[in-house]
């Protein structure tokens, strides 16, 4: 019996490999903005790593719109020696947080990061910071070190030091007791942060990013060090307790997609002399500027937004950006008696192409619901752990009822980019946070169910878009069929209020939904 299973497994595995080979040899689709993409053409180190994407890597999805000095890592290595990120100057560093008793997520991250380091070939170090200092002592890390690939340094410290370090990096974690006395696991954000040769924090890879994508981004960062340090000195990450010099504001742009055109909502994390501004009555003034600092258009007032249960206050500015390209922002605010001002780093406004304009009407096209297909969820989603609530109502239902909705165009099974499947996961969690908002998942590619297996029409290199995806402006340059995933946020008036392409932070959508809920 076991032998029979192995034989069959081999046949299937062989067939899968063959299938993948054909897909990878297919023509690489062009996706994303030409200015922000790096092609991982065959023969490059990126393409030789396993899981090489067949699409170009959208750098803007991983790199921050503006670099900033990486927060410190003043912790201990397994030999109880003080560690300093400054000691890695001249090398790239991949920094992530986890814990050694983590059986699933952390080993997966360690494996992917290790693979990326091998494929890149020298000049990259990895730093693994524990969020479980109780069990991850230096003594234990000495033993654990043997399970880590070469070039990895695990770090630990006191509970307070770990919390302060995680806060400075924008990492969240929490202890989860299992019910068995003494046993617990840790929940934690699982992004991998990229620090460049000059100690600047340049970007972040969400959990699940493949090694080939990491390698492509590492090459891009190594090839393009910052000409000058970021314009805002020590602009802190979102939750940093860092402070600004008296009279200066640190301005960080949180939004993962900013669009050329009218009223693109831009989320800002603003820091003053006493740390991140958390005044829910403050209305900072935001002025768009060209890359050279020349003001463009009229200043706008940013709205304070605090999502339910979230401590941090974000400020949302509706900006009209005349064209795609690089811009920056000047922000002024009256905090107490002090007038404060600051400037953001450069950010990129993206070309909306044929996607519906922000402030424009949502397309009147029906997304098929599970009811439309006789109750068979597989006809409307390829997510093996599908949440039926994402397929209950159509966009036309929400439009007719004048209720806000979030449309997610993404495929769990047909992954044309490494970001695919993540928007669906995001929607599954946001719908629990936002019960009054309709979340709708739509598979953007045509497929049919053949002997219980979803089979794609066309190929992964050249998938066929559904009428719905086409109606939302996809399949037209610069956003071709391989530009998934997309998220569109539509208000109760049927007006598109925000849209996202590629990797999206959960905080990002959360802030926009809060902003709309409070009448923004």
């Amino acid at each position: 019996m076991t032998r029979a299973i192995r034989l069959v497994a081999l046949i299937v595995a062989g067939t899968l490999v063959l299938l993948m080979g054909v897909v990878l040899r297919g023509p690489a689709p062009s996706g994303g903005e030409p200015a922000a993409t790096a092609s991982t053409s065959a023969g490059s180190p990126a393409a030789t790593a396993s899981g090489a994407p067949s699409a170009p890597v959208d750098l803007a999805a991983y790199l921050y719109p503006q670099a900033r000095p990486a927060p410190g890592l003043a912790l201990l290595d397994p030999d109880a020696r003080p560690f300093s990120l400054g000691g890695l100057r001249g090398q790239l560093a991949l920094v992530f947080f986890g814990y050694t008793h983590c059986p699933d997520v952390c080993p997966a991250t360690i494996g992917t990061v290790g693979e990326a380091m091998r494929a890149y070939g020298g000049g990259v170090q990895a730093v693994f910071v524990t969020v479980d200092p109780e069990r991850d002592t230096t003594a234990w890390l000495q033993q654990y070190r043997q399970y880590l690939p070469a070039g990895f340094t695990p770090l630990t410290g006191t509970a307070d030091e770990i919390r302060a370090t995680a806060d400075a990096w924008g990492v969240r974690y929490a202890r989860v007791d299992t019910g068995t006395p003494g046993e617990y696991s840790m929940s934690h954000t699982a992004d991998v942060y990229l620090v460049d040769q000059d100690g600047e924090l340049r970007g972040r890879f969400p959990f699940g990013t493949d090694s080939a994508t990491m390698v492509a981004v590492l090459h891009a960062v190594a090839a393009a060090p910052l000409a000058s340090p970021s314009i805002t000195p020590s602009g802190p990450p979102a939750t940093a307790a860092a402070t600004q010099p008296s009279g200066a504001l640190g301005v960080e742009i949180v939004s993962s997609s900013i669009w050329a055109g009218r009223s693109s909502p831009v989320i800002l994390a603003i820091s003053g002399p006493a740390g991140r501004l958390a005044d829910p009555s403050l209305r900072p003034t935001v002025q768009l500027m060209a890359a050279d600092g020349a003001p463009v258009g009229d200043p706008v007032s940013a709205i304070p937004v605090q999502p339910p249960g979230v401590a941090a206050v974000s400020y949302v500015a509706s900006l009209s950006v005349p064209s795609a390209g690089t811009w920056r922002l000047a922000v002024t605010a009256q905090s107490g008696a002090l007038p404060l001002s600051g400037t953001s780093g450069l950010f990129t406004a993206r070309d909306p192409g044929a996607t519906p304009a922000i402030g424009g009407a949502a397309p009147q096209i029906h997304t098929p619901t599970v009811g439309d297909v006789g109750g068979d969820l597989r006809e409307v989603t390829t997510d093996p752990i599908a949440d039926p609530r994402l397929s209950q109502r159509s966009t036309t239902d929400a439009l007719a009822d004048h209720v806000p909705f979030v449309l997610v165009l993404d495929s769990t099974r047909f992954r044309v980019t490494s970001a695919c499947g993540r928007a669906v996961i995001l929607a599954k969690y946001l719908l629990q946070r936002w019960p009054d908002i309709t979340f709708i998942h739509h598979e953007p590619y045509r497929y049919s169910i053949v002997t219980d297996t979803p089979v794609l029409e066309g190929s992964l290199a050249d998938p066929v878009l559904t009428d719905v995806a086409t109606a939302w402006g996809l399949g037209t340059p610069p956003w071709d069929a391989a530009s998934m995933p997309w998220i569109f946020i539509v208000d109760g008036n049927g007006t598109v209020r925000a849209k996202y392409q590629g990797v999206v932070g959960s905080d990002d959508v959360d802030v926009i939904l809060s902003w709309l809920a409070q009448g923004g």
């Binding site: 054909v22 050694t100 059986p103």
Partner: protein, 148 residues
Amino acid sequence: MNTRAVIAFFLGSLLLLAGCSAGASATAGVTVGGAWARPAAAGDQPGAAYLTITNGGGQADALVGVTSPVAGSVEMHETSMDSSGMMGMHPVERIDVPAGGVVKLEPGGYHLMLMGLTRELRVGDTVELDLTFEHAGKVTVTADVRQG
């Protein structure tokens, strides 16, 4: 070979898989393959194992229990992201495998937690996993220990 032909070949293999498992009546259409486990130290550091369950039969089934000679207990867990973006795990009572469906236990999703390891798991070792399905009964597989 064009993509359609490859897909046909792939589907053919799947049918072959269904055919073989149908012959093994003890498993009533359920087959388990691709089992592997991560290296882990013995003691209080849990191990993780992954596999793929294929239900070639016409009846829905579910994985309801797992044991292993190398672990004090084996729990079924699911990794998921919460509303604040934190990744965490929670135990599940069962993993449903719909009729004609395939469920993959893979990093970042469902996995088996090997608690109380009685020995270290080193790359190249093998680990026996004894699975209990609601309808198909017991299925034993051998997992290879590897990095990923």
